[in-house]
Symmetry: C2
Amino acid sequence: MGSDTGGSRYLEIAEALRQSILSGEHPVGARLPSESDLAAHWSVSRGTVRQAVGLLASEGLIGSRQGARRVVLRQERRHSFQQLNSFAQWAQAMGCEVSSLILSRTTRPATAEEASRLGVAPDSEVLYVVRVRRLDGEPVMVERTAYTEWVAPVVRALPDDVVSIMNSIAENAGIVAHYGEHLIDAVAAGSEDARLLRVRRASPLLRQRHLTNTAAGRPIEWTDDRYRAGSVAFSVSNSAAAAPLERQAGPEVTRGPSGD
Amino acid sequence: MGSDTGGSRYLEIAEALRQSILSGEHPVGARLPSESDLAAHWSVSRGTVRQAVGLLASEGLIGSRQGARRVVLRQERRHSFQQLNSFAQWAQAMGCEVSSLILSRTTRPATAEEASRLGVAPDSEVLYVVRVRRLDGEPVMVERTAYTEWVAPVVRALPDDVVSIMNSIAENAGIVAHYGEHLIDAVAAGSEDARLLRVRRASPLLRQRHLTNTAAGRPIEWTDDRYRAGSVAFSVSNSAAAAPLERQAGPEVTRGPSGD
DNA sequence: GTGTGCAACTTGTTCATACAAGCTGGCATC
DNA sequence: GATGCCAGCTTGTATGAACAAGTTGCACAC
């Protein structure tokens, strides 16, 4: 497991190219062979090669301009969807020892924001879970999650020290995360944050709120994750062709009578 | 300007689909017509339609699974590359009044980090610019940028209140930003930050460091932008197929004897 | 030596086709 | 009435061909 490319030819080619970049065979700044050469080398059509290099381009590994050969931009691995949605999988891929502890599980009515994000009625109940997560023993993140009612039973059955909740509900109930929407900003540590993360009150935290959906578009959870400053950063690559990330105005930026 | 789709058929189709989603013709959760139907409607081949819907999928507007029709995920516009790299263009697109003031321009030797990021010799000189940026009169961001020597003359010639430096050097010198690499985390406000942003010292700031490159992969600038908490958030959509953003360990997470 | 221009190369876009893989709804069965 | 299965629909992968648009380096002229 791990290097399973799924059986698609273009994924195999993408993985081979990725490896040759990561190994330094194609150093940063070097030009890749032309699509025709690669197609001949792998005995596939040019379209298949384009799918492979398109994937690497979307990962930010290589860049391209019409007319010029593709260039290597970076020599690092970019992790997959799962690593952004699942703290545990990310940490394990990094080689850190990760541990988690659920501090509380409460069934309570959804807040206005939770109801809106999860697409449920304002008075319906959600399962609210507070968790502390550690890397190599150090508390690094506080996670406050609201689960929709239909996944709540699965989450309620898990032990307090479960490492990956998303993993567990995928295995136990076949509920798989497929889409994510993330909002990243900075907040001051509240008193609970400060106690749990062992930092001073009002010290800076990196906050990642995210909504997780199934493949069918059904919301699973709405989470507020707060990282101790210095422990985690987010990294994005973009290009004139593709910009995955967007800046958004916060609540303090008010622009006259247009609030919805 | 604005709705220029560049003349490619698939971009036209993508823009039309985007509009029909934004306008609510295809509400969130609705299923889009099949690729064959769209191809017939637009009198193009299925491959061209796939390029269009692939673009919308990468923007997070629609999702797809093999065998099932595509689904509308969101009903908001995702902004382009320029809005992530250029604060001014983002703010103007939002309808905010943006103003900037350059506080200092210094030519000095590059720090170790700057030299490494910009790919220049450790002792070479960079142009270091400190700027405050306001939205609707409120100071929102402090920007500290190191420009490589070869763009420094263009930047040195600009007035203190230039709105968009990237825009200006594109127009004046034909130097266009094409790739970007961004690192996002949280830091405590230093005394200069606090004074310029009118916040308390050590209050939380959202930091976005980024490297900007030309189409040929030549570094232009290395920037440290710090936003007042609450004024700006970053937003990402991802899916099991594509994950543009990555979590990274910060300096405080040390993992035994493996430092590079 | 310098500079210009073109020719070959390379990526971008589009077409038409074929088959594989996964989903959905309706029909038949129990 | 509930259940399971299958036929048809839809997306994913792959081929091969052709032309458009942009880049690069070499040859040639000055």
